[in-house]
Symmetry: C2
Subunit: 356 residues, 2 copies
């Protein structure tokens, strides 16, 4: 059979623990659906700084490049927070995105029935919320020139936000394509009343919209979007925006669902290749205790199956298994109402594996 190479990066904090359960899920789909995976493990983030002196070792990058998809746990932690820039986990994250050409970050934010109560929003406001934030990931102020200089008024710092038409076009087209597979509504978020990059963004969106007459398009200013996400979350379908705005809005959207421990993400480039990771971070406070929730990582595998491999049967089986286990009342500590009945990472993983 066609064996897929999976680059596995546990990373820091709870990363390795949740990734281990996701791998068990993938192995189960080998048995049930006959798919084949080959796993290779690499160091990345804080642990790579400790062991290799750099957050993104060359061998890890090569491993990713030779693979069909990357499964990432999480990176970062207070241990490395005051390191110089080249020795910080985030630098590895930005580096791997750029090196692998992952210009698109896809973050579904949907509500799990059993977690509705976990949101700080009123259930009736949240009802029906099911949106995707498509964030540009390799451009903008994240990657523009940055420096210090002496100005007339003392030291100055400069960041440069740059976008070219092609960078905007490819992410916007992808967002339109995704909207087409869903409710056919796209909100493009910018700050066109202030920023030149946003004006180019908006012009480009308007031009490309002509190719997608079936998709309903709205332009939303970023400050207004931060409000509308709170006021009418269910009215959004696909949101597309540039890197910095996407960083902020995708986190806001994730939090308002109340399901942050359950949300997955994909970072994609031109082809089918993608990097998949849970939205939650490395949670150093609970690392090593065996209590982390593996569901977001397991659902990231489902996303990988859909977007990179087209294994829709297995993706659906995973999603159904997760739902079944939750419906049966099983909870890890983060999502348990009665914490005393919470189960651990491995127990949750096993239940899901058995339900596939």
């Amino acid at each position: 059979a066609d064996v897929k190479k999976i680059a596995v990066i546990g990373g820091d904090g709870i990363g390795p623990e949740v990734v281990a359960e996701a791998i068990k899920v993938m192995k189960k789909t080998e048995e049930v659906f006959g798919y084949g995976f080959e796993f290779e493990h690499g160091l990345f983030g804080g642990i790579a700084i400790d062991e290799k002196g750099t957050p993104l070792p060359e061998e890890t990058l090569q491993m990713c490049k030779k693979s069909d998809a990357v499964l990432l746990g999480a990176v970062g932690g207070p241990k490395w927070d005051s390191n110089p820039k080249e020795l910080r986990p985030e630098t590895g994250l930005l580096g791997i995105r750029k090196a692998l050409g992952l210009f698109s970050n896809i973050r579904p934010a949907n509500v799990f029935d059993c977690l509705k109560e976990a949101s700080t929003l009123k259930p009736e406001v949240l009802e029906g919320t099911d949106l995707i934030v498509v964030r540009e990931l390799t451009g903008g102020i994240y990657f523009g020139e940055k420096f210090r200089r002496e100005g007339e008024n003392g030291q100055e710092a400069v960041d440069t936000c740059v976008y070219n038409v092609n960078e905007i076009e490819r992410i916007v087209r992808q967002a339109f394509e995704i909207a087409r597979t869903r409710s056919k509504r796209l909100a493009s978020v910018d700050k066109a009343n202030v920023l030149e990059t946003s004006r180019l963004w908006r012009e480009t969106v308007i031009r490309i919209a002509a190719d997608y007459p079936d998709v309903e398009l709205e332009h939303v200013l970023v400050d207004n979007c931060a409000m509308q996400l709170l006021r009418r979350p269910a009215s959004f379908d696909v949101i597309v925006t540039e890197n910095m705005f996407g960083d902020i809005l995708s986190d806001e959207a994730a939090m308002l669902t109340g399901s942050i421990g359950m949300l997955s993400s994909a970072s994609l480039g031109e082809g089918a290749f993608g990097l998949y990771e849970p939205v939650h971070g490395s949670a150093p406070d609970i690392a090593g205790q065996g209590i982390a929730n593996p569901i977001a990582t397991i659902l990231s595998v489902a996303l990988m199956f859909r977007l990179t491999f087209g294994y829709h049967d297995a993706a659906e089986a995973i999603e159904r298994a997760v739902k079944e286990v939750l419906d049966a009342g099983h909870r890890t500590g983060d999502i348990a109402v009665d914490k005393s009945k919470a189960i651990g990472t491995v127990a949750m993983g096993e239940l899901i594996v058995n339900a596939i």
Copy 2:
């Protein structure tokens, strides 16, 4: 007596209607407290574009410069949205901030008891929320160089985000001072793991914090702040951040209180001079109908009395009058549960004037 010169800018949409009520309130405080005001009116925003061919006519700017404080309604509307940059209301707004040296935007976001239900957040989450966003207003990516150029990959747009130490220091000191008059907690928001301007921001905050050992300081990354505002709004006291992040977060904070029709703002410079305006916009859809809520503008007058004139007695009287009228059950349409009982702009203004 010491007569204060007030520059009055009604602006667009509902601006003139709500400002008219605020002026009645100021006049009432002349009677009750013996203060004296002299009002001069100027054109600004869309109406100035229509009548003078520019959003910020020189005579309006001069009028503001000669005044002790500015009372602004709102500017903007769809009519001018596709105008070229120099003929857009926002350009006037950015221009007046810069020309008057208003480097600090103060936005209280608090919950009105009678409006708790208007929020999309659960009441128990909102309970006790009373925060102030202090936003840097004349620097950063808003005012840095912006341009288009031909790059290797077609047209490119560039925005530049620049901050010097002095710009950061003055706003941060102001935020620490404000925190001192409140619960003594300051959250400084940046993206220091990515941006050079944020690293300079954070270094500066840490240095200045030494002068405010009584204020508890936390550094929050902007994406995390967008989440924490939703998760634990009541835990914030004063939030200080740069221009673009402040634009997004202050709107998010305002919306989550459910009180957006009630929130006031101040834009301040070095001295006592300030520009005061409601947070809500020009609401062109309801302009001219006499149904707009004047309370945010009236409360902006209270803020002006406190911050620019030190008229604490009159400020308190205004705030108490607003509370009294609301407690008696009077509502404009935007905040009414039973819309059929809603009263208009003038009626609401009169009730408040009479309650002073």
